[in-house]
Symmetry: C2
Subunit: 493 residues, 2 copies
């Protein structure tokens, strides 16, 4: 095998490493981290991306968590067609208007022009509802709780960015039908709770939850609830939505059931989704100037062991020790890689695994062998720790992984809290938005006109109306009329 | 709650049950089983289907098995775009010709006509290779072993059939790049081995494995290997393929690496896939006049417990016993449903779960309570067995599940063996095909002309050339010239 020489190594590493600072050029930093850590690459199709092994493995972790939660609650996974005929999409007018500007259309099949063009699904309410109207007859068929994991296409015309805005992305969409509004309300809330647990406990990203305003709700919904997270550049990212669709779709698609009262009723429906955009949030919130920093619970590799052979004599012993630790950790369900590639130097490997965001690195060199220790390096703080007791290594690592997980969350939580600004006047509002960004807490008169004016003039939208009404502290931040609700504004991705 | 009355129950059950015999009208029987067991439904788009909860759960079992196997071997899951630009698809001429007649084309994005039309992927070699040419530089980057689970579109013009031929289906496609032909050969063989293990040990369907002829190989491949299974109607179903692509694509897409010899080489590639068509095979091979019969290893529900309350007095005790058994089985990782719905009669439930193919039913009635026993009913043989020892129930069930699994395989294996017919003359060939179908073992002169003539005249193709050369026993079954190979013919789905 050839060992990469120091010169060649440095040359390739500088090509490989992140060349801008997160604090100086956030957008370029983001792109570099995404590309260089093997999360993603640009596809040879405008506006599309490739989910490389690192991001797909994170997506699988998200799937695993979410599937368990919903299956325990009786939801079933299914798969509906990628095609939605235009006539079906058109049935609910508000919904159609919302989605038609961003549909990709299939017009040719084989060598024939199609009679009716088919949209590549931008979401699946209409095609699923066409089936619900067939499947649901009686109260015995309710609730019907289906979910699918699939690709979604929305023909973005704005500049695209991997994970955050691309013409194709992956998501999960849940669609349920219930006998009463109350059951649908409960479903909406329960799912939002699962999303919150996923984002906070797994992705280590704190969120605010609440309702969307009429202007911001899902096209065709009764109401929309959402999770919103703050990114380091002061912009807000919607992390997931859970909608009560009311009976809007069931009336359009004629989804009726005979109740226990032997009368016909329309069902109440919900839909909800999270997407691969969550991975973009992880990059932005936790990453640093060395690259990705992954929360242990979603890291495809949690620990990398790097043997540091110095003299030939030690090589075998070092490798033997590395293997022993590797097996011990694997046995304890800690996802571990032993990087014993002989064609790369230890320094090269350090950089590569830091770039890829692996939470803990274990170093074993000749000195460590002599001192009967190993070195643990934390990715989040870059601290190093010498550990003597090899027998307890799995426990030590487990504890450290937990510490990293909570440190990442707490750090992000502090940032979020420091960047929620309460304002009483429009002057303060605009100044805060300009100087600091973040979330702006303000009183609002509930008029869509004020909401629209603010959006026009500042680019900020109402991200959330909190579930628990907060105490009013001023008049409407825009018109000065009586305030009716405390809401959170922000500029969104 | 309302109990479904006997009349209503019978009425709904006859609508729900299978109304034709497998032996009398195989095609109609298949459709009924697929629709009525909640495996699938027709979508409101021509030629498309919906994967309902039962089939998707089986697909998840297949994914779980296969993911573990390939990840253990170092493959990584990824996701490439659903769109393939026409120019990219065109680069490999043979490949393009093979796929272009069945592409669906996106020509409009949002409100604009696209400059170049985009195919919905019929397979992903070209788009993946466009990236491999960027990602692979050095021998250190090899082997590169990626896999994706995704939807595939092929614009079928023949009559469609759920799982077997639809315009959209789900599959997995693996794409690997290697330094040498030998490594690529090994990869092709290893994957075929995993497929065989999946199909035989999990789906309980015996297969023949071998190579495809030049006429039947994948468009653009060096050679194709495949698994073929025999269906009860005497037709043959291809269950999976594993291709050595040679350097055909790497030369077209310029995928080169600097070897340890410091010279440039083209990589050797493989691709391989299995699809949701496997679920269709399970239906055909194992199903019976009552509906689906699922091999325990892929059954979403392995055991259903049905309490049979007779007098009110026993109701509570019966339910208590049912719950105890339910918890015991769940604890032992046996996927179990306790069907305690009070709105359906036990008879209704028996029919429903038999239709859905659940391997074992546990009945608990008043008599069983008195005799301190439960009744186990096997779905494959419809045998009933009274079991006394409640404590050992998990072991008893586990053993019975294993028996069912192997019984289903052995039954199918016998059928396969009985339906391989060795013939020496073209007369025998045609008679066998007409009267019996199945696989026909014959000698062939290796000329594509004979192969094509046989296909034209009988509809039968060479399904496989066995890996291990079998001893010649006649001249070519068509032209009478010298036989060169023993091959297996059949009419395929």
């Amino acid at each position: 095998m050839l060992l990469i020489t120091k010169d060649e190594g440095e040359m390739r590493m500088s090509e490989m490493g992140i060349t801008v600072k997160k604090s100086e050029n956030f957008s370029e930093w983001y792109t570099q981290v995404v590309l260089k850590s093997w999360l993603a690459d640009y596809a040879p199709i405008k506006g599309c991306m490739i989910f490389r092994e690192q991001s797909y493995a994170i997506w699988e972790k998200i799937q695993e968590f979410f599937n368990k939660e919903i299956k325990d609650r009786g939801h079933k996974n299914v798969y509906f067609p990628v095609f939605v005929p235009e006539s079906l999409l058109k049935r609910e007018a508000e919904h159609f208007e919302g989605f038609v500007p961003e549909c990709a259309w299939v017009t040719i099949g084989g060598s024939s022009q199609l009679e009716e063009r088919l949209a590549i699904r931008p979401t699946s309410e209409t095609i699923i509802d066409a089936m619900y109207s067939k499947w649901i007859r009686s109260w015995r068929d309710l609730p019907l709780k289906l979910n699918q994991w699939c690709n979604i296409v929305r023909w973005e015309t704005k500049a695209t960015k991997p994970f955050l805005r691309t013409r194709e992305f992956l998501w999960q969409e849940g669609h349920t039908a219930h006998a009463t509004k109350e059951e649908a309300d409960t479903e909406v809330t329960e799912i939002l709770g699962i999303y919150k647990a996923l984002v906070e406990d797994y992705l280590a990203i704190p969120v605010l939850v609440g309702k969307k305003t009429e202007n911001e709700k899902f096209a065709g919904a009764l109401y929309t609830t959402a999770l919103e997270a703050l990114m380091p550049d002061g912009k807000v990212l919607q992390m997931g939505t859970s909608h009560n669709l009311g009976q809007n779709f069931s009336k359009v698609f004629d989804i009726k059931f005979i109740g226990e009262d032997e009368k016909e009723h329309y069902v109440w429906q919900t839909s909800w989704g999270i997407s691969t955009r969550l991975i973009g949030a992880v990059v932005m919130v936790h990453g640093d100037d060395r690259g990705l920093v992954l929360p242990p619970k979603i890291a495809p590799v949690q620990v990398v062991i790097i043997p540091i052979p110095y003299k030939n004599a030690d090589k075998k012993l070092i490798l033997k020790k590395a293997k022993k630790i590797f097996e011990n950790l694997q046995k304890n369900d800690i996802s571990t890689v032993l990087d014993d590639r002989s064609e790369y130097t230890p320094g090269w490997k350090f950089n590569e695994w830091e770039l890829k965001g692996v939470p803990i690195r274990i170093e074993i060199g000749p000195k460590d062998l002599k001192k009967k220790q190993v070195i643990l390096a934390r990715r989040d703080t870059m601290e190093k720790l010498a550990v003597k007791d090899e027998e307890r290594i799995a426990d030590t690592i487990t504890e450290m992984l937990e510490k990293i997980q909570s440190n990442l969350f707490n750090r992000a939580k502090r940032f979020l809290e420091e960047n929620i600004t309460t304002v009483k006047t429009y002057g303060e509002f605009k100044r805060t938005l300009k100087e600091k960004g973040g979330l702006i807490r303000a009183c609002w008169c509930s008029s869509p006109t004020c909401e629209e004016k603010i959006k026009e003039e500042t680019g900020a939208t109402i991200r959330l109306v909190p579930f628990e009404r907060e105490e009013l502290f001023s008049n409407c931040v825009y018109c000065g009329e009586e305030g009716k609700e405390v809401v959170y504004f922000g500029r969104a991705y």
